[in-house]
């Protein structure tokens, strides 16, 4: 059930990245990043008000947790400047390669409080094929 959600998540993510990229072609990367987040903010505030959400006391939230918002801006901004140049498939393919490397590091070292899951030598073959796939995507 949750695995299906992960698949659907991928599909709508691609659509979202595409729409943002098209927006960036018209407005430039800065404005499109702003439009994306301001609309998202309006939507989540609307949902919050409908659900009568009790808002967190921002003063009590550790500073570290304000980082995701800034990282999200960096993510969308980098997407928005790359997609008009290299197309959607390549941008997403390389991004996923980056995600794979980073999530393996997270698991190997147990970063961000995740359980430690050491890198297994048997995975070298898989990672080599993945790297080859990424290189072919870039080169051909």
């Amino acid at each position: 059930m949750y695995k299906n959600l992960a698949l659907i998540n991928g599909i709508i993510l691609a659509v979202m990245i595409f729409l943002n990229g098209m927006l960036a072609i018209i407005t430039g990367p800065y404005m499109s990043t702003f439009i994306y987040h301001v609309l998202g903010f309006i939507l989540i505030m609307t949902i919050s008000i409908i659900k009568k959400n009790r808002f967190s006391n921002l003063k009590k939230v550790p500073l570290m947790f304000f980082l995701p918002g800034i990282l999200s801006v960096i993510t969308i901004f980098l997407n928005n400047i790359s997609i008009p140049e290299i197309g959607l498939t390549l941008a997403i393919g390389v991004t996923l390669f980056g995600q794979l490397i980073m999530s393996s590091l997270v698991e190997h070292f147990g970063l961000f409080g995740m359980p430690v899951n050491r890198f297994k030598k048997e995975k070298i073959l898989g990672f080599s094929i993945i790297s080859l796939g990424t290189i072919i995507m870039i080169a051909l």
Binding site: F41, I74, I101, G133
Partner: protein
Amino acid sequence: MVYIFLSFLTGITIVINMMLNGNLAQREGMLNGVVINYLMATVSSMILCAMMMKSMPSYSAIRSIPLPYFLGGFIGVLTTYMFNIIVPKVPAVYVVMLRFIGQILTSAIIDYIYLDIFSKGKVIGGVLFLIGLVLNAKVDNKYEQGNLKLSENA
């Protein structure tokens, strides 16, 4: 080549974000997690725009934007929401794998239809990528089953 490196960097920021958001959602609740996320993002992208005032589009350019292009912002909330549900339930490697399939297939279709870019290399590369992911998942499965047997014996 610069853009390829930037895309790689995007992948790293996404994973860091995913981890921090998961922790934030556990602490403040999912809804508040997303609210804090978007509040900070809106403020910081506003600052970014203010710094880049010169490259701002004209009002008429903004008015000419087709409505569907604005949907990205709404879909973004939906995916963040979904993400926060998925991350604690599914191992990170599976999240990456399943999202990969969804994203690569969809983006290849969109590239072909709308951007008129389609190359065999991307398809071959994507398939190889997937084969590698499946192989890795099999290794993980094998270890998980091994652990189960150990715990049964104990």
